[in-house]
C-alpha cells in the first residue's frame, strides 16, 4: 500500500523560508562589506571573519551542549548577527574584544531567550552596546579610511574622530571641511559597515524589492530624524548641522534598514512599524544632540525593541467584518 502523507490543508506552500530570508539579508550586506574591505583592508576582513565565526560557534555549542535541541546553525541567523556586529565596531578593534562581544551577542542576546525568534532585542546590537560600555576607549577609537590601493592591504590604520564625535566635541563648525559627497561614499571615519551609505542603500533596495523588509520602518526613522533635526537647523544653523548630514552620519542608514527591520524584534503591522520608526528617530536625535554619546542609533533601536510587544498589542490588524465602535 502507498504510504500517503496526511496533513491539514493547505497542501502547497510558498517557497519562502527563514533561511532564504536570512541569506538575502546577508547578500544585501555584501556591497557594504566590499566597500569596508576597500577602505580598511585586512582589518575589516579579519574582524568580520572573527565575529561571524565566533557567533556561529557560540550558537552551535549552546544548541549542542546546553539546549540539546535541534541544530539550526545553517539558518544563517548567526552569520547575520556576526556580520552586523562587525559592521558596528571600529575595524581596528582588538580581536579578543570582538570575540567577547560576539559570544555575548549570541549567548545573552539570543540563545538565553531560547534562540532565533524568541529574543526581545536585536542580538548584534546587544553585543555592540555591551562592548561599548565595557571597552569605551577601543570602541570609540575609529580608524580613518585609507583605500587599500593607497595604503596597502596590511597597513595599520591611522585613527581619528568620526564626524559625529567631532560634532559632539567641537560643535557644528568643525565639520565645515567635510564634503557631503565624501560622507555618502564612505570617505570618512566610523564603524566599518556604516561608512558607505550608497553601498548600504543598494542592499536595502534589494531587500525591499524582494519584500524581505517593509519600507515603513526605515522610512519613518529617516523622516523623523530629518524633520526633527531640520527644525533645530532652522532655529540655529550655527549650532546644529543640516538634517541631510544627520541622515548620512553615523549608523543611521545601517540601523534603519538592517537593524530596526529585524523581523524578530520589530512590530508586525504597518502602523506599529511607523510608530516604532518614529520612536527610534526621536530617541536617536535626542541622544545625538544632547546625550553623552555621539551616536544613539543602537540605543534607540534597543529601547524601541523593548516596546515592540506593547506596540504589537496596541496595533492589531483590523478584523474583517468588525466595525470599530468609534466609527458608528
Amino acid at each position: 500500500m502507498n504510504n500517503y502523507t496526511i496533513s491539514g490543508s493547505p497542501h502547497v506552500h510558498s517557497t519562502e523560508n527563514t533561511r532564504k530570508i536570512m541569506y538575502r539579508v546577508i547578500l544585501a550586506l555584501v556591497p557594504a562589506l566590499l566597500v569596508a574591505i576597500y577602505y580598511f583592508g585586512w582589518y575589516a576582513l579579519r574582524l568580520t571573519l572573527v565575529t561571524v565565526a565566533t557567533c556561529m560557534l557560540t550558537e552551535w555549542l549552546i544548541q549542542k551542549y546546553l539546549i540539546k535541541g535541534p541544530l539550526t546553525i545553517n539558518d544563517g541567523s548567526a552569520i547575520l548577527t556576526g556580520l552586523l556586529l562587525a559592521f558596528n565596531v571600529p575595524a581596528n578593534l582588538p580581536i579578543w574584544m570582538a570575540i567577547v562581544g560576539s559570544v555575548f551577542a549570541i549567548g545573552v542576546g539570543k540563545m538565553a531567550f531560547g534562540g532565533l525568534g524568541k529574543n526581545p532585542f536585536n542580538p548584534a546590537l546587544v553585543g555592540r552596546v555591551f562592548m561599548l560600555v565595557s571597552f569605551p576607549t577601543a570602541m570609540t577609537t575609529w580608524p580613518q579610511v585609507a583605500p587599500i590601493f593607497k595604503a596597502g592591504f596590511f597597513t595599520d590604520a591611522v585613527t581619528g574622530p568620526t564626524p559625529l564625535g567631532l560634532l559632539k566635541e567641537s560643535g557644528a563648525t568643525s565639520l565645515d571641511h567635510m564634503q557631503f559627497v565624501d560622507m555618502v561614499l564612505g570617505n570618512r571615519g566610523g564603524a566599518f559597515g556604516e561608512v558607505c551609505a550608497i553601498a548600504l542603500l543598494i542592499g536595502a533596495i534589494y531587500l525591499i524589492a524582494r519584500k524581505v523588509i517593509d519600507i515603513a520602518t526605515p522610512l519613518s526613522i529617516l523622516l523623523t530624524v530629518f524633520v526633527f533635526t531640520g527644525i533645530f537647523y532652522l532655529v540655529d544653523p550655527t549650532q546644529y548641522i543640516a538634517p541631510w548630514y544627520h541622515l548620512v552620519y553615523g549608523g543611521l542608514i545601517l540601523g534603519a534598514f538592517f537593524m530596526a527591520t529585524d523581523m524578530v524584534t520589530s512590530p508586525m503591522t504597518v502602523r506599529g512599524k511607523i510608530l516604532f520608526g518614529v520612536g527610534i528617530g526621536l530617541i536617536t536625535v535626542v541622544i545625538r544632540l544632547w546625550g553623552a554619546y555621539p551616536e544613539g542609533v543602537s540605543f534607540a533601536i534597543l529601547i524601541m525593541n523593548a516596546f515592540t510587544p506593547l506596540i504589537n498589542k496596541a496595533f492589531k490588524p483590523q478584523v474583517f467584518g468588525v466595525v470599530k465602535p468609534s466609527k458608528k
Binding site: N3, I6, S7
Partner: protein, 296 residues
C-alpha cells in the same frame, strides 16, 4: 568622605525602618483570618491542582471540605480522585470513608507492530486535531493516535509515549487516577478503573466497537466481539458494548480466565503471577476462524 558615607547610611537606614513600620501596620490592618484547618487539609492533598475533584485546585477542595464539615458534619461527595480522603476527614475530626484507589488504563494496543502504519502523518501534534483529519496511521478509527494529548495534560507526569509502540504508557506509581487524561482523549480510549485487589486488574485493551471484520483489517490485537470471554466469565462481569467486550470492574473478581480464551489477546491482565512454563505464550494466541460478527 566619611561624612557622605554617614549621611547615606543614615538616610537609607531611616527609610528602611519607616517602611518596615508601614509594612507591619498594613499587614496587621488588612489581615485575612483563615481557618488553619484549611492548610492542614490541603497538606493531605497532592497539590498538583489537577482539577480532577471538580474544584479549581487543591486549596479550593480543602476550603470546600472545611466548609462542608462545619456546616453538615461530613465531607461526603468531596473527593480527590488520587488521595485517601480519610486523611482529610481525620484532620477535620470526622470518621474516614472508604477509599478505592484508581488508575488510568489505556484501552488500545494498536502499536506500530500490531497495527502497521498505512499512511504518514505530518501535521500538528494534537490528537484532537488529527482525529478530525483521518482515522489513524494504522487505519483503526477508534484507536490511539499517539500524539500525546493525554501526556501533555497529565499533571503528575504519569504518562509518556513509548517510542517503540507509539502508545501512551501509564506509570502506576505516579498515576492517581484523576481522570484528566480520560477527559482529554478525543477517542475516549483511556478509562479510569479501580486498581483492584493486590493491584491486580483485568481489562479489554481495545476501544473499537466496529464489526470484527473491520477490526481485523487494521489491527492484529483488536477485540472482534466474538463473545468467548463473555461465556467464559463465571461472574457475568463482561458485557458487550457494540462489538466490544467490556469488563465491569465492580463485578470482576480478577480471575483472569477471560484473558486465556481471548483469540486476539485483547484482554490484558496486570500484576498477575507469571504464567506457568506450559502456557508461556498466552499473547501468541492461535489463529481462529473469525466468528460471525454480532450486530447490536
Amino acid at each position: 568622605m566619611s561624612n557622605t558615607l554617614l549621611i547615606s547610611l543614615l538616610v537609607l537606614g531611616i527609610l528602611g525602618a519607616v517602611l518596615a513600620v508601614v509594612l507591619y501596620i498594613v499587614a496587621q490592618r488588612f489581615k485575612v483570618e483563615e481557618n488553619p484547618l484549611i492548610d492542614e487539609a490541603e497538606a493531605c492533598l497532592p497539590g498538583a491542582n489537577c482539577g480532577g475533584c471538580g474544584f479549581a485546585g487543591c486549596r479550593a477542595l480543602a476550603e470546600a471540605c472545611v466548609k462542608q464539615a462545619a456546616e453538615k458534619g461530613n465531607i461526603d461527595g468531596l473527593a480527590c480522585p488520587g488521595t485517601d480522603m480519610g486523611k482529610v476527614a481525620a484532620v477535620l475530626g470526622l470518621t474516614a470513608t472508604a477509599f478505592e484507589p484508581k488508575i488510568a488504563v489505556v484501552r488500545c494496543n494498536g502499536s506500530c507492530q500490531n497495527s502497521p502504519a498505512k499512511v504518514h502523518y505530518e501535521g500538528a501534534e494534537i490528537c484532537a486535531f488529527a482525529n478530525t483529519l483521518y482515522a489513524g496511521k494504522g487505519g483503526c478509527s477508534k484507536g490511539c493516535l499517539g500524539l500525546g494529548d493525554c501526556v501533555k495534560k497529565c499533571n503528575f507526569g504519569a504518562l509518556h509515549i513509548d517510542k517503540e509502540t507509539g502508545l501512551p504508557v501509564v506509570d502506576p506509581d505516579k498515576c492517581v487516577g484523576c481522570g484528566v487524561c480520560a477527559k482529554t482523549c478525543p477517542r475516549g480510549i483511556i478509562e479510569i478503573r479501580p486498581r483492584g485487589k493486590k493491584d491486580r486488574r483485568v481489562y479489554v485493551c481495545c476501544s473499537n466497537t466496529d464489526k470484527g471484520a473491520l477490526v481485523i483489517k487494521n489491527c492484529s490485537v483488536g477485540c472482534i466481539g466474538c463473545q468467548k470471554c463473555l461465556k467464559e466469565c463465571p461472574f457475568e462481569a463482561i458485557e458487550m458494548r457494540g462489538n466490544l467486550a467490556y469488563i465491569d470492574p465492580a463485578k470482576c473478581k480478577a480471575c483472569g480466565k477471560c484473558a486465556k480464551v481471548c483469540p486476539r489477546g485483547a484482554i490484558h491482565t496486570v500484576n498477575f503471577p507469571a504464567p506457568k512454563p506450559q502456557t508461556e505464550q498466552p499473547a501468541e494466541a492461535p489463529k481462529v476462524e473469525l466468528e460471525k460478527p454480532v450486530t447490536v
